[in-house]
Amino acid sequence: DAGVTQSPTHLIKTRGQQVTLRCSPISGHKSVSWYQQVLGQGPQFIFQYYEKEERGRGNFPDRFSARQFPNYSSELNVNALLLGDSALYLCASSPGVRGQFFGPGTRLTVL
């Protein structure tokens, strides 16, 4: 079975631009979560979606938004990019019991 997939793998943007990151969960998983991992730190929770509804939101500004589609895939959008948004963005899916499975991440660099 395929694991969690994310696209693109790497992305370079300039300050002020907008970016969309994509995630496909493991087949059968209805929950998708997004995390930001800044270099040298542990991942920080951004959002969780379950059955297309937002179940949780971390301490991130409104520039960050997300949505989940009927096929349970998800997009994370970040507007008005700042240098501090440079990070590895991780998507995780869950079958509903505790324990999440992570994708390889999207490395975002903001110049």
Partner: protein, 114 residues
């Protein structure tokens, strides 16, 4: 609120010797606890999880962890280190009240000396 503290930012052991990575947690409710491993330029892999069943949890690649409520600890151990164990390890806590927000520790970098 919940949090985890990983007591060592960097641990070095010789190949074939035991590994101990320490984690203390704080939670207002009964927690679920996990250990994840991250190899360089790779995503996170779930090593093991504790969800209020047996307090000694066995994971993949010979790792295990023991939940000690009295000490609020969830230390990760392995009897014999292998070169392939070199990676970053994260202790993680969650309380499942409608969402599955994972709270990560700051990580412990494990180095294996040949």
């Amino acid at each position: 609120a919940q949090s985890v503290t990983q007591l060592d930012s960097h641990v070095s052991v010789s190949e074939g010797t035991p590994v101990l990575l320490r984690c203390n947690y704080s939670s207002s409710y009964s927690p679920s606890l996990f250990w994840y491993v991250q190899h360089p330029n790779k995503g996170l892999q779930l090593l093991l999880k504790y969800t209020s069943a047996a307090t000694l949890v066995k994971g993949i690649n010979g790792f295990e962890a023991e939940f000690k409520k009295s000490e609020t600890s969830f230390h990760l151990t392995k009897p014999s280190a292998h070169m392939s164990d070199a990676a970053e390890y994260f202790c993680v806590v969650t309380i499942n009240f409608g969402n599955e927000k994972l709270t990560f520790g700051t990580g412990t970098r494990l180095t294996i000396i040949p």
